[in-house]
């Protein structure tokens, strides 16, 4: 069975070799040099974040299999996901990637998380499939990742990557300027929770950068690594003024606001507990939508100062990057926070 798959891949690769116009070479975010035969007609993304790049870059029609961060099963997919991707039931995958299944898709390019699936990447490379390994936990890495992904697909994608980079810088510059203008500005202390009230983000994570870009102080930035477990006393010590709950996980503002043990925290007393909204991808992860996440955060932290028209930005974003029209209710959800 494996040989059939192997033969098939070699045949396809060989076929491409005959008809291919060129081979593109790039260095991925783990330092590997990758050769990608052009054009890429079929690709897969095991990297839950990278899958969304496909939509932003307008190459989602070539996607044959995808892991979507925040969506582990069809049951978890929102209506918006289905509208974005009608082929979702065929494309959606989750859990550990299976080599034979991947070969069966006929994908010639695979996006992979360099931190978690390096082994899988190596095995697929040995079979002659091009693999780009990503490692994104900072905004620069996000822009670089978009560029890399775009390069694999050619001109149209590359242009959209540039537009995104420009948008990104525009948003950051705007926020920065607004904050500068209104000085002295008090930067609020922000706590970013995970899937549990006592799980918090560390200073190494993307969320940490987002908070600081939005003009806040990330209270748990002293922590390192991934999500950290803390206790209530430590949270009391940090005394955040604003608590942000991610768009995934079971924690709801009401449960924290109503918890008698948390009442001494400033954020609870002032009712400043907010759950990040979500339409497609979770905005606190390094997906293109994190652009909107920053806008949302900035508005939350400095409502009087930051001058975005949130409604406009959101509509524009979804229209351009996802070719997606926000419904009225979706817009309401996004703005109600």
């Amino acid at each position: 069975m494996k040989f059939a798959g192997l033969a098939m891949v070699l045949l396809i690769a060989g076929g491409f070799g005959v008809t291919a116009e060129s081979v593109i070479q790039l260095t991925d975010q783990m330092g590997n040099v990758v050769e990608i035969p052009q054009p890429v007609e079929r690709f897969a993304s095991v990297y839950g974040i990278g899958t969304y790049f496909a939509y932003a870059l307008g190459v989602d029609d070539r996607l044959v299999k995808g892991w979507y961060i925040g969506v582990k099963s069809l049951g978890q997919a929102s209506e918006a996901m289905y509208r974005l991707e009608p082929r979702l039931p065929d494309l959606l995958s989750s859990g550990d990637p299976n080599i034979e299944e991947m070969v069966a898709t006929g994908a010639t390019l695979i996006f992979v998380d360099g931190a978690r699936h390096a082994g899988f990447a190596e095995q697929m490379s040995d079979l002659g499939v091009a693999v780009i390994q990503f490692m994104v936990e900072s905004p620069d890495a996000l822009l670089e990742a978009m560029q890399l992904a775009a390069t694999a697909f050619g001109e149209g994608a590359i242009e959209r990557a540039h537009v995104f980079a420009a948008d990104f810088h525009r948003v950051l510059a705007r926020i920065s300027a607004d904050i500068q203008e209104a000085s002295p500005l008090e930067a609020p202390r922000v706590l970013f929770l995970g899937t549990d009230p006592l799980t918090v983000s560390s200073g190494d994570m993307y969320q940490s950068w987002m908070i600081e870009a939005a003009g806040g102080i990330h209270v748990s930035s002293e922590l390192t690594g991934y999500w950290n477990e803390v206790n209530l006393e430590q949270i009391l010590l940090w005394d955040p003024e604003i608590i942000v709950i991610p768009p995934y996980g079971p924690v709801q503002p009401a449960s924290l606001l109503g918890n008698p043990d948390w009442q001494a925290i400033s954020a609870i007393r002032n009712g400043r507990v907010h759950r990040m909204p979500r339409v497609i991808a979770p905005m606190d992860t390094p997906v293109p939508e994190s652009l909107l996440g920053i806008v949302w955060l900035a508005e939350l932290l400095h409502p009087e100062v930051v001058g975005f028209n949130l409604e406009e930005e959101m509509e524009r974003f979804y229209a351009y990057y996802y070719s997606y029209e926000l419904s009225a209710t979706e817009m309401e959800t996004l703005l109600s926070q």
């Binding site: 582990k72 978690r116 995970g194 899937t195 549990d196 006592l198 748990s220 002293e222 922590l223 991934y226 999500w227 950290n228 477990e229 803390v230 206790n231 209530l232 006393e233 430590q234 009391l236 010590l237 005394d239 995934y248 996980g249 079971p250 008698p260 043990d261 009442q263 001494a264």
Partner: protein
């Protein structure tokens, strides 16, 4: 070497008191002694945050640490006598494995603490139920109980592995792993109720039967010849122990070594007479875990899993005690 008499008694009473005070006064959030006491005894005016910290964060957690420490130590002491084996700890009957599985199962589906705790406790009881079932079928000698415990423990460990396998590696699996490492960070008044109740009931039971436990260290024949209903007493001890260990694991995760080391330390202080050993174990266990939990929650900004601390500190202490035991035995003959 055995320290006897009044000084030991004072030491045993003083240690938990010291531990309690330290636990209430020391933490990430610097508090002054005065305001801590005022908050604790509800005297005078105290800032809200101090009151919340003292009464809603430190006090329940300290009580939880004391209860879990006392429970595990007493059950360890009782089981060591019951199984006539000084290397036994509460885990031996599969209670912890059952609880671990129950918690992991619940974590797969929800993150409500109450559900996780209830599930852990329920499966701990199920585990001991299975062991007792094996005992009724094959006779409740200590050998059968131990083998039953090993089998049931192995069963639940495998099932736990299965759960880890299907758990989402980004959110659920870390939760399970973290729970397994042990910790008391979720000890609030709303969650420690069952622990308090079962601790009081369990400790009362063991205090009442403490002298009689001596007789379980004799062979079954001798004990029965002395008029003891061995099977009944043994089953009662196993059940009570399972409940105390089960509720402790349900709240605190896998906290090991306390049940093994503390009884040995207590025995070194007061001897093997359970009439003294049981209370001594309870006091020492409470003190030890309060001190260790203090380190777990105050040393660093993030929580150090308690199970890691008990292991790291428990192992060298156990080695020391064991070496002394071996040397003493060597001198005897």
């Amino acid at each position: 070497m055995r320290i006897r008499g009044r000084s030991t008694g004072w030491l045993l009473v003083l240690l938990p008191i010291l531990a309690f005070l330290a636990s209430m006064l020391i933490g990430r959030y610097g508090l002054r002694i005065g305001e801590t006491f005022r908050a604790l005894f509800q005297i005078g005016d105290v800032p809200d945050v101090v009151r919340a910290l003292v009464l809603r964060v430190r006090l329940p957690r300290t009580l939880a640490a004391a209860c879990v420490g006392a429970n595990l130590a007493v059950v360890g002491a009782a089981f060591q006598g019951l199984f006539r084996n000084p290397l036994v700890e509460p885990r031996i009957l599969g209670v912890s494995s059952g609880a671990a599985f129950g918690a992991a199962l619940a974590l797969l589906m929800t993150s409500h603490l109450i559900v996780v705790q209830a599930s852990a406790f329920a499966f701990a009881l199920l585990a001991i139920g299975l062991v007792l079932l094996i005992a009724t079928r094959f006779g409740s000698s200590t050998l059968v109980l131990i083998i039953g415990g090993i089998l049931v423990g192995a069963l639940f460990n495998s099932l736990l592995g299965l759960i880890k396998y299907v758990a989402d590696p980004l959110s659920t699996l870390p939760s399970i792993t973290y729970w397994l490492l042990g910790g008391l960070s979720r000890s609030q008044w709303s969650s420690i109720g069952p622990l308090l109740v079962i601790t009081v009931a369990g400790l009362t039971f063991f205090l009442l039967v403490r002298w009689r436990l001596n007789l379980l260290t004799l062979s079954d024949q001798e004990a029965r010849a002395l008029g003891i209903r061995v099977r009944l007493l043994r089953t009662a001890v196993v059940l009570a122990g399972a409940m105390m260990a089960g509720v402790s694991v349900a709240l605190g995760g896998m906290i090991g070594w306390i049940g093994l080391v503390i009884p040995h330390a207590a025995r070194a202080l007061v001897g093997p007479d359970h009439a003294l050993l049981i209370p001594a174990s309870a006091l020492l266990g409470a003190a030890a875990l309060m001190f260790l939990d203090l380190i777990a929650r105050a040393a660093l900004a993030s929580e150090i899993p308690l199970g890691i601390l008990t292991g790291l500190i428990g192992v060298p202490i156990f080695l020391l005690l064991f070496l002394r035991l071996l040397r003493a035995r060597g001198e005897a003959t």
